[in-house]
Symmetry: C2
Subunit: 361 residues, 2 copies
């Protein structure tokens, strides 16, 4: 501390040292300036060598590359984001990761993003709307370049924040003619409707449903609506007592069956809002000695891997979660790369006929 320096430098140096102390005395991480100095070029050249190599002569490019390696230089994402207004980061808020179908989509989404140099910021809402608003706000603060949301059912505040921030967004899993943001998904209602058509063809007339919770969940609602639409189409009654909504677990599925069975004229076929509920129904039926599909037909939704292993194997609907994840990531990246507008898209959700459905006896 005894060295002499000019006033200005002194202040600068003190500040610099103070900062360093905070970081932990030790390693001063190299910056572009350090690389530039070591390579005998300007910081602009270093930046260019790193980001648009073609704009730099091979000689300098190599020299820079060598120094980067030698000094163990790691660019600062924050500085880069601040200067370029791009974070190479995409945000998402999903209800929960603890659901095989969401996880598969997110997995595919991340993988695709990663391939293009983007990192995924994951946030979960727990199906809580205020919390979702908060999460979107935070993602926007973090400066994400794009946003992915599950479904089309979001608080107005969410849409507004997205619009104000001009952040490109895509909603997945849903399907709608005039969504607030482009939507890459499939037609939940049509898929459910088609399954019921099949049941009706088999001769079922008393068809019930153990649906997923529809509040704030447009997919669950669409599936239920599809069932009701099909019933109406076939001139069948929608018996309220034969429709119940349950949270996502095997046990709730069991409860669902118990509930429908308590009706004077129980259903001969049950459409379920998802495979987990359908499995719950199957388990409860098994424990009650109700034979599936002889006494009762059951249809699931999602086509989880295990459903094909059960006996009887579950008839269900395949959800294109991986294609959706990939397509939405690609759409966002394309938009960010060359401005191609994000197009809504609907994937097919094939009906998977297996062994839990049979002609009514």
């Amino acid at each position: 501390m005894l060295m002499k320096m000019t006033g200005d430098n002194n202040i600068t140096e003190v500040a610099r040292r103070t900062r360093r102390r905070r970081t932990g005395a030790a390693a001063k991480k190299p910056t572009v300036a350090d690389i530039a100095r070591a390579a005998g070029v300007s910081t602009a050249t270093v930046s260019r060598a790193l980001n648009k190599p073609d704009a730099v002569s091979a000689k300098l490019r190599n020299k820079v590359a060598r120094k980067v390696r030698e000094l163990g230089y790691v660019p600062s994402g924050a500085a880069r984001a601040l200067a370029s207004n791009r974070s190479f980061t995409i945000g998402t808020v999903i209800p929960t990761l603890n659901n095989a179908i969401f996880a598969a989509s997110v997995d595919a989404f991340e993988e695709t993003l990663s391939r293009h140099g983007y990192t995924l910021l994951v946030t979960v809402s727990n199906y809580d709307r205020p919390h979702e608003i908060e999460q979107v706000r935070r993602l926007l603060e973090r400066g994400v370049d794009g946003l992915m949301l599950i479904g089309l059912d979001h608080p107005e505040e969410v849409w507004q924040m997205i619009e104000r921030s001009a952040c490109p967004a895509v909603a997945i899993w849903g399907h709608n003619d005039k969504p607030r943001v482009p939507c890459i998904g499939f037609d939940n209602a049509a898929a459910a409707e088609h399954a019921v058509d099949h049941l009706v063809e088999l001769g079922h007339r008393r068809i019930g449903m153990v649906a997923g919770l529809s509040f704030g969940n447009d997919r669950a609602r669409a599936r239920r609506a599809g069932v009701e639409r099909a019933l109406a189409k076939h001139g069948l009654p929608v018996v309220p007592a034969l429709f119940t909504e349950k949270a996502y677990s095997h046990d709730y599925g069991r409860d669902g069956l118990t509930e429908l069975l308590s009706h004077g004229a129980p259903p001969t076929a049950i459409m379920c809002g998802n495979d987990v509920l359908a499995m719950g129904v199957m388990f409860e039926a098994r424990d009650r000695g109700i034979a599936i599909p002889d006494d009762l037909s059951v249809v699931g939704f999602d086509n989880l891997p295990i459903t094909s292993q059960l006996r009887p194997a579950l008839t269900t609907i395949e959800v294109p979660s991986v294609p959706i994840g990939m397509a939405s990531a690609n759409a966002i990246v394309a938009y960010l790369t060359d401005g191609s507008p994000i197009q809504s898209k609907s994937f097919p959700a094939p009906f998977v006929m297996r062994a839990t459905t049979q002609s009514v006896r």
Copy 2:
């Protein structure tokens, strides 16, 4: 463009306008300076009002808050990170989200982080080591404040990057006396060993294993090691033909059983590396008419929700994935908040005895 201005201002203004055009002509997002001006205070006061409200008089605090709302101000995470050297972002690289157990941990991890104002950056390695290195590098570039890794088996480069960057890290799911970074998990080997003890107690002498792939996977390796250790302890032979490693799917589990069955003296009990493999074994046994547990005992690992619903219900080992996720998030946050060192911790992994194990007949 006909207005006059001084040389210096001119340059500045042009640059400013150019930037703005890139962003999309329209909305000039407000900055601290705008808020400061509107509220008639300094930028420092705005910053303080936002970050450490107690350091600002109630009057100014309110004034600032009002202007923030009025102008729709959203702080820039990048600028904040650059200036403060903190991103309030934690990174993780997991093998895949498409695995109920990881997903549950990550879900709990994120939730806990979120509660403390942190956002989770998720990255997946797909069990690919070079890719994992790349992902860690990217997370570090993004300036994460902390890192969460699955297991203790990582490329040397990963450890080095973590050390060089002085980024606090925690490994989860594993257990080891001298891990490279603190480890919050459970003793996979001991849990597996305990399960085998149980099998031996039931009189089993020919015990096989359908293990998970152990390459680059210390958990799978530990589970296998635990089984071998238990066998040795009881003076039982480790028959190589009775040990096989399989990837994560029901079908591979089926293959595993087929393989062990081809041995002259097939096992009377099979320990599995995870529940999915165990279910595969059960399904294959069912299809072959092998009665579980009468003809064959089976033990899984993970205690997936569905295992309790199967008949017979699967005997397995409970993995504390949610506690692990929460504890590791809390540990990182505590470190970041007040420097409390991250302590390794091992949770119990209880043996869940159900109906797939029985005395050898």
